[in-house]
Amino acid sequence: MYIYKTKGICPPEIHFQLAGNILTGVRFVGGGCRGNAQLISRLLEGRELSEVLPLLKGIQCRNDTSCPDQLYQAIQLAREGKLREEEPITVYETPASYQRVAVIADVNGNVEALQVALRQPVETVFCLGNLTGPAGDNDGVVELARRKKLVFVQGPFDRTLSCTKPENREFLRRAPLYLRFQLGRCRVLGFYSGFIQELSGFSDFAPYSLELLMVSNLSDYLRNESVFSALETMTEQFSVDVVLFASTNEWKHVRLGKVDFINVGPVKEGGQFKYALLGWAREELQVSFETVKA
């Protein structure tokens, strides 16, 4: 994906992809006329550059340029190799909807901890990152995750610590950065925070960036309660009902506005195993932090 910082127009960024000479995924983000921008995106989707570039070039709106003209300039820079293609911030959306799930994080290569989590009486287990860790059996835990088809997102260790076996490294490399699933009527988002916004492909205006930035940059992972009023105001713009995140080794559940924020700590804590149990019952979200003795 290409991210172009615009000049002289309302949207601060244009995102797009090029597959050879085919233009896809055009998004004008962060401002401007959303309706027209969506129309332009739909009209351009999958079309050849030779066809669209003459249509975009030179259109005037303000400051001697326009959204189409800026897109033209961005595409030209990409073709000349002057605009770098960024690593996409990947999202995995589960096809199924759930009623009762367990969520773990920071497995840190602990095979026993993952085995315990996978034995819990739930429909599925999700891992919010750091399946691997500096002192763990990383190949062992990744092989178990592969066998059990564990759905997990990358944590910082999963990106930097390599397994010995290439197939395990590839499994980690392919893992998404965001997880989206449906729990009853709740739209749930999960991620391991603190590093995604440092990746070169991160944009403030990409899907789920708002939720991530509110958790990490604004509220310091819910530790700065003085900004909860502002955080609650911003939840009105959220695209999900539940935000699950890991990164601080803490366990916390806070409801602000119509959004539940759930901080998931490490699966092994002291001599115990711990996980977040999320359920949908009596038309309500149920959240508890469960402990299993070692």
Binding site: G30, D204, L213, N217, L218, V227, S229, A230, T233, M234
Partner: protein, 71 residues
């Protein structure tokens, strides 16, 4: 909030410089925290929070600006 500022009389606009921060961005959040703001929307004058969690009536905003900058 930006609309409230845009609607100020020209004589007031002439004596101030307006910056708007977008809370969806890292830059906007950083500025919000620097100002030690707690609620939205907020207006600061010379790095001092003057209005929080409210869009002030125009006369209040004008009075606050004049108290700092006019004459």
């Amino acid at each position: 909030m930006a609309e409230a500022v845009k609607a100020l009389p020209q004589e007031i606009k002439d004596i101030i410089e307006v910056h708007e921060w977008d809370m969806r961005t890292r830059e906007g959040i950083k500025r919000f925290l620097e100002l030690k703001a707690k609620s939205l929307p907020s207006i600061a004058l010379d790095n001092e929070l003057v209005f929080e969690a409210v869009i002030p009536p125009q006369e209040d905003l004008i009075a606050a600006i004049k108290a700092r900058y006019a004459g």
